[in-house]
C-alpha cells in the first residue's frame, strides 16, 4: 500500500511556493494596459443620493450607477418559505443603504491615481435616519430600507410545536438574552478582482480571489446577461476565505462589465479599510431563550427567538436567511431535547449585507445553547459538565433524529466531554479558584462547550432549505497520465485547506500511487468540472468521494486492459499497490497506461476507447450529512482591575470521522479555534447611532495575535460516519464554533461568586465591568464580593 494514502500526515504540496514567495495571488497578476480601480463608497448609512459632480477631465474614467445600469441588480431568490426577495444594485443610484456601499468606480494607472480620481468625485446626500439596531428595525415606526419588506423583515421562520404542559409544570424555568457582535471576516488577503477580455477565446476572463469560481461564473452570466461560455473565472492562490469569498460580490460584476465594455484589463484589490467597513458583515445575532428543566438540570423544553441582523441586502446565492435557518435547526445542539419551539427573523438594517463566516450560525447557536446549559446548571447548583453530560445524546441512541429532524449519524458525545474533563484537573482548578477568591489574585474560570456540526450538507438537505444553486453533489476528473502519474481536476478551490495534498492522498489511497506522482488542479472554470465551490466543510467528503469514484472507474477500465495483456479473466486480477496481480505476475498502472496511450494496437479492437480519463461523481447514498462533534474547555483568568481576560489553557476534543491528513486536520481545528477566540474576546465593529462603523484599521479591530493565545491542546477520537465514503466528516469550520461559548462560560464561572454573568461577545473588559456594575461592583472588585 502506498504510504501517502488516507491517514498519513503527508507534508503539503502547496507549501513550497508559498515559502519561497512564489505563489500567485490576484494582486500578483499583471497584464499589459491594466488599469487599477478605486471605488467611491457611501460615507453615510442611509441617505438619498443627489446627482454626483464629476470633473469634465475625469468623466471618461468615472463610472456611476447610470453607467453600469446594464448590470442587473443582484437578486438572491430561492424557494425558502417565508423569505421575501429584494434587489441589491451593484452601485447605489438613488439611495445608499450602508456605509461602504459602492457609488462609483474610478480608473487610474495605479491605485493611487485611481484614488486621486475618486477623491475628486463629489456626492451630496439627503440623510435619512439610519437603522442600526435590529430590534428597532422591526418597530412599525422605523424607516423602510426596502419597500418590499414589512417591518424590515427579510425572512421569518417558525419551527416546532408548542408544549404547554411542560411550560406549566417544569420546576425550573430560566430566560436569557444573548448577543454576538458584528464582525468582519478578515482573511489576510482581502478580495481582489482582475477582469479582462480575451479576444482569442472570445471570453471575459475574471480572476477573482474566490472560494467558488464556477458559482461566480453563474452569477456573472446571470447579472451581466452573458452566455456562460462567454465567461471564464479563475481563482489563483487565494489568501484565506472563511466564507467571505464564497459568494458573488458587486465588485466582480462591475469589474467584469467595465473590462468587457472598455476591452481593457482592470484590477481592484480590496484594502483593509474597505474590508473592515464595507465588509463588516457577519455573526450579528440576538437570541432570546427560555429553557425549562427539572431540578437536576434535565432539559425539558426550549423556547427560542432568533434575530439575525442581516444588514441592508440579501447576498447571492445563499440569501440573507442562511444564518437564521441554520441557527433555528441546530439550537437544540447535541442534546436530547423533545420540546423545542423557535421563531427566527432576519432583519434589514443599514449595515453591510450579512454573509456566512466560518461555521455560519453555529457559533451563535452554540453560544446560546451552551450558555443556557451553564445557566441551568448554576440554577440547580450542579457542575455544568454533569448537567451537560446527562443531557447529551448517548452513543446508544445513534443514529439520533433531533427534534428539528436532523439525523445525527454517529459518535459518542459523552466520551468527548469525558476526555475533555480528563485533560484538565477540575478539582485542582476548583481549589485554586477558591484560593484566588480569597487572596485577591486574578479570578479563575473554567468553561465547557460541546457541539455537533452538520458537515457535508448534501442534496436533500439543501433542497429542504430552499437555497438555489447548491446541488449538494460533486464531480472530479481524474486522468492516468501516460507515465503512470495522476492528474486530478476539481471545481472547488483550495485556499489553505491543503486540498492539493489531501485529494492526492485520496487518489493515492485508491490507486496505490505515491502523492508525489499526483497533481491536483483547481479553481479554474475552463479546466475543471462544475462545482459550487469550497464552503460548509464539504470538500473532503464530497470531492474526496468524487475522486475515489473516478479512481474506482479507472481501475475498472485498466482491469480490462490488464486482463487482456496478462491473459487472465478480469476477476482473477487483484489490484494492489498500484498494480494488477495474478499469482507471481503483475502489471503496474504505468505499464498499462503506456500501452493504452502509445501501443493501443496491443489491446483488442473492442476495448473501451474512452481512455484513462474519467469524471467521477459523489452524492452519499444517505445524504442527510455527517455530524462532526467536539468539546472545548477554556481555563482563563480575569484581572480584577482591568477585567481583561487571559486564556491560560484551551483544550479541544474533536471527532471529524476518519482523518485524511491528521496534520492538516489539526491545523484546521487550531485555526478555527483562534478565530473563535477572536469572536469570543476581541473582534467587533461597533456602529454609532448614525450607522458609522467605529473600526476601520487593525488598531481598532483586534484580530488575535500570537501572544494572545495559549498553546492549544488537541485530543481526538475517530468515529467513521456510516454515510460517507471512507467515513470522513468535515472539519474546516468546527474549531470556530465553540470558543465563544466555552470562554464566556468560563468568564461566568469566574464571576459566579459575585452573582454576575455576561451573555455577549466579545467578552471585552467593558462588558465584564458592566456585568459587575450591574451587581454593584466596580473595578478592583475584591474577595469581599463573594458570598
Amino acid at each position: 500500500m502506498s504510504s501517502t494514502g488516507i491517514g498519513a500526515s503527508v507534508p503539503r504540496k502547496e507549501d513550497r511556493r508559498h515559502l519561497h514567495g512564489q505563489s500567485t495571488f490576484v494582486g500578483d497578476l499583471k497584464f499589459p494596459r491594466m488599469l487599477d480601480v478605486a471605488f467611491v463608497r457611501s460615507p453615510v448609512a442611509h441617505a438619498l443620493i443627489k446627482t454626483p459632480e464629476i470633473d469634465a477631465e475625469d468623466r471618461a474614467r468615472v463610472f456611476t450607477a447610470v453607467d453600469v445600469e446594464a448590470i442587473a441588480p443582484i437578486v438572491a431568490d430561492g424557494t425558502i418559505p417565508g423569505y421575501i426577495r429584494t434587489a441589491y444594485p451593484v452601485m447605489a443610484r438613488d439611495k445608499a443603504n450602508f456605509v461602504g456601499q459602492i457609488l462609483a468606480a474610478c480608473l487610474g494607472s495605479s491605485r493611487a491615481e485611481a484614488e486621486d480620481v475618486a477623491e475628486r468625485v463629489f456626492f451630496d446626500f439627503d440623510e435619512l435616519p439610519a437603522i442600526v439596531d435590529a430590534l428597532a428595525a422591526t418597530d412599525a415606526a422605523a424607516p423602510a430600507i426596502h419597500p418590499e419588506l414589512t417591518d424590515n423583515v427579510f425572512h421569518r421562520l417558525e419551527l416546532g410545536e408548542d408544549f404547554p404542559d411542560i411550560r406549566a409544570s417544569a420546576p425550573v424555568r430560566l430566560t436569557r438574552t444573548y448577543k454576538l457582535a458584528r464582525q468582519a471576516i478578515v482573511p489576510l488577503e482581502g478580495r481582489g478582482v482582475v477582469a479582462l477580455w480575451d479576444e482569442r477565446a472570445n471570453q471575459l476572463v475574471v480572476y477573482s480571489s474566490t472560494q467558488s469560481p464556477h458559482l461566480i461564473r453563474n452569477g456573472l452570466a446571470e447579472f451581466l446577461k452573458l452566455d456562460q461560455n462567454r465567461i471564464r473565472v479563475v481563482a489563483p492562490d487565494v489568501g484565506g476565505g472563511f466564507g467571505y469569498k464564497a459568494i458573488l460580490h458587486p465588485e466582480e460584476l462591475i469589474l467584469g462589465f467595465l473590462a468587457y465594455k472598455l476591452k481593457r484589463p482592470l484590477r481592484w484589490l480590496e484594502d483593509r479599510r474597505e474590508h473592515l467597513t464595507a465588509g463588516a458583515n457577519c455573526r450579528e445575532h440576538i437570541y432570546n431563550v427560555t429553557v425549562y428543566g427539572d431540578t437536576q438540570g434535565q432539559l425539558l423544553g426550549l423556547d427560542a427567538e432568533v434575530i439575525v441582523d442581516a444588514g441592508a441586502y440579501s447576498i447571492w446565492p445563499h440569501t440573507c436567511a442562511f444564518d437564521a435557518i441554520q441557527a433555528a435547526g441546530i439550537l437544540p445542539g447535541p442534546y436530547q431535547l423533545k420540546n423545542y419551539r423557535v421563531v427566527a427573523r432576519t432583519v434589514a438594517t443599514n449595515k453591510p449585507p450579512i454573509q456566512a463566516y466560518r461555521a455560519v450560525a453555529r457559533p451563535g447557536a452554540c453560544f446560546a445553547t451552551e450558555l443556557t446549559i451553564d445557566a441551568l446548571a448554576r440554577e440547580v447548583k450542579r457542575e455544568a459538565y454533569l448537567v451537560r453530560r446527562e443531557n447529551l445524546v448517548p452513543v446508544e441512541a445513534m443514529p439520533y433524529r433531533s427534534v428539528t429532524g436532523k439525523l445525527y449519524d454517529s459518535g459518542d458525545y459523552r466520551q468527548s466531554l469525558d476526555i475533555a474533563l480528563g485533560a484538565i484537573d477540575l478539582a485542582g482548578l476548583r481549589a485554586e479558584q477558591q484560593a484566588r477568591l480569597a487572596d485577591g489574585r486574578p479570578l479563575l474560570g473554567v468553561g465547557f462547550a460541546t457541539y455537533t456540526e452538520h458537515t457535508g450538507v448534501s442534496t436533500s438537505v439543501l433542497a429542504w432549505m430552499g437555497t438555489r444553486l447548491m446541488p449538494g453533489h460533486e464531480q472530479a476528473a481524474v486522468r492516468i497520465t501516460p507515465d503512470g502519474g495522476v492528474d486530478i481536476r476539481t471545481g472547488v478551490q483550495s485556499h489553505g485547506q491543503g486540498m492539493e495534498t489531501t485529494l492526492a492522498q485520496v487518489a493515492s489511497d485508491v490507486l496505490g500511487i505515491d502523492v508525489d506522482a499526483i497533481q491536483v488542479t483547481h479553481g479554474d472554470t475552463a479546466l475543471t468540472p462544475y462545482s459550487t465551490g469550497t464552503y460548509a466543510s464539504r470538500c473532503m467528503i464530497m470531492v474526496g468521494g468524487a475522486v475515489a469514484d473516478a479512481c474506482d472507474r479507472l481501475i475498472g477500465r485498466m482491469r480490462m486492459a490488464a486482463a487482456h495483456l496478462m491473459q487472465r479473466r478480469p476477476d482473477e486480477l487483484v489490484f494492489r499497490d498500484g498494480a494488477f496481480h495474478a499469482d507471481a505476475a503483475s502489471m503496474s498502472v504505468g505499464e498499462i497506461a503506456h500501452i493504452v496511450y502509445f501501443a493501443p494496437a496491443e489491446l483488442p479492437p473492442d476495448m473501451d476507447s474512452a481512455g484513462l480519463e474519467v469524471i467521477g461523481g459523489y452524492r452519499p447514498k444517505t445524504d442527510t450529512g455527517a455530524f462532526a462533534y467536539s468539546t472545548h474547555v477554556a481555563v482563563l483568568e480575569i484581572d480584577r482591575d482591568f477585567a481583561t481576560v487571559k486564556l491560560r489553557d484551551y483544550v479541544a476534543v474533536d471527532d471529524c470521522g476518519i482523518q485524511v491528513n491528521p496534520m492538516i486536520v489539526d491545523g484546521q481545528i487550531l485555526g478555527g479555534i483562534v478565530q473563535g477566540i477572536g469572536t469570543a474576546l476581541y473582534e467587533e465593529v461597533r456602529y454609532d447611532e448614525s450607522g458609522q462603523p467605529q473600526a476601520s484599521t487593525f488598531a481598532d479591530y483586534l484580530v488575535p495575535g500570537c501572544g494572545d493565545v495559549p498553546a492549544i491542546r488537541l485530543f481526538k477520537t475517530e468515529t467513521a460516519s456510516p454515510f460517507t465514503r471512507f467515513g470522513i466528516k468535515g472539519v474546516g469550520e468546527g474549531g470556530a464554533i465553540a470558543p465563544p461559548a466555552a470562554i464566556v462560560n468560563a468568564v461566568n464561572d469566574a464571576l459566579l461568586p459575585f452573582g454576575a454573568e455576561i451573555g455577549e461577545v466579545p467578552a471585552s473588559p467593558a462588558r465584564i465591568l458592566r456585568a459587575l456594575q450591574n451587581v454593584g461592583l466596580g473595578p478592583g472588585f475584591v474577595a469581599g464580593g463573594a458570598s
Binding site: 503539503r12 507549501d15 519561497h20 478555527g672 493565545v709
Partner: protein
C-alpha cells in the same frame, strides 16, 4: 519624481519614482517582486515585512524614497540561505502555513529573530511574533517551527 539608487537582494537598482510610493508598492508593482504581501497597509499585520539594512521592517509604511542608498532584502533574496532554508523546512513540517499569504512576512520576521536573538523560549517567541498576523493557522505551527529552529541552533552551539 525623484531618483533613487538602492540595493535589493544584492543587486543595484536605480529608479525614478513618485515620492509617495511605498516600498511595498515599489517592490511589487515596479520590480515585480510579489513575494512581499500586503495585508493592511497600515503597519499592523506584518505581511509586508522585509529587511532594511538587515533588520525587519514594514515595507507598507516605508517610503521607497527613504530607502535611497539602503540595502533591502525580500523573501526572494533567500534562495541560497541555509538559515532561511532551515526555517522553511520547519514551517512545512509543523504546518505553519495554510493559505500562505502571511508566510513571507512570517519568514522574514522569523529570520530576524533567529539571527539576532538567540535562545528565545516559547513565551518569547509568541511575544516577538505578535507583530505578524495569521488568520489561518492559529499560530501554533509557527511557534513550534521556531522552537524547533532554536532547538537545532542550540544543539549546534
Amino acid at each position: 519624481m525623484i531618483d533613487i539608487v538602492l540595493t535589493i537582494n544584492g543587486e543595484r537598482v536605480e529608479a525614478s519614482i513618485d515620492p509617495r510610493l511605498s516600498l511595498a508598492d515599489f517592490l511589487r508593482e515596479k520590480l515585480h517582486l510579489t513575494g512581499t504581501h500586503i495585508g493592511c497597509e497600515h503597519g499592523v499585520c506584518g505581511a509586508c515585512t522585509i529587511h532594511l539594512d538587515g533588520v525587519s521592517a514594514r515595507s507598507c509604511i516605508t517610503l521607497a524614497a527613504a530607502c535611497d542608498g539602503h540595502d533591502v532584502k525580500t523573501i526572494e533574496g533567500f534562495e541560497d540561505d541555509s538559515t532561511m532554508s532551515a526555517i522553511r523546512t520547519e514551517f512545512s513540517r509543523e504546518h505553519a502555513l495554510q493559505c500562505g499569504y502571511c508566510s513571507p512576512g512570517m519568514l522574514m520576521t522569523s529570520y530576524d529573530l533567529v539571527t539576532r536573538f538567540p535562545g528565545l523560549d516559547e513565551a518569547d517567541i509568541r511575544r516577538e511574533m505578535s507583530g505578524n498576523l495569521c488568520r489561518c493557522t492559529g499560530y501554533q505551527g509557527i511557534v513550534r517551527a521556531l522552537q524547533n529552529v532554536y532547538a537545532m541552533n542550540q544543539q549546534q552551539d
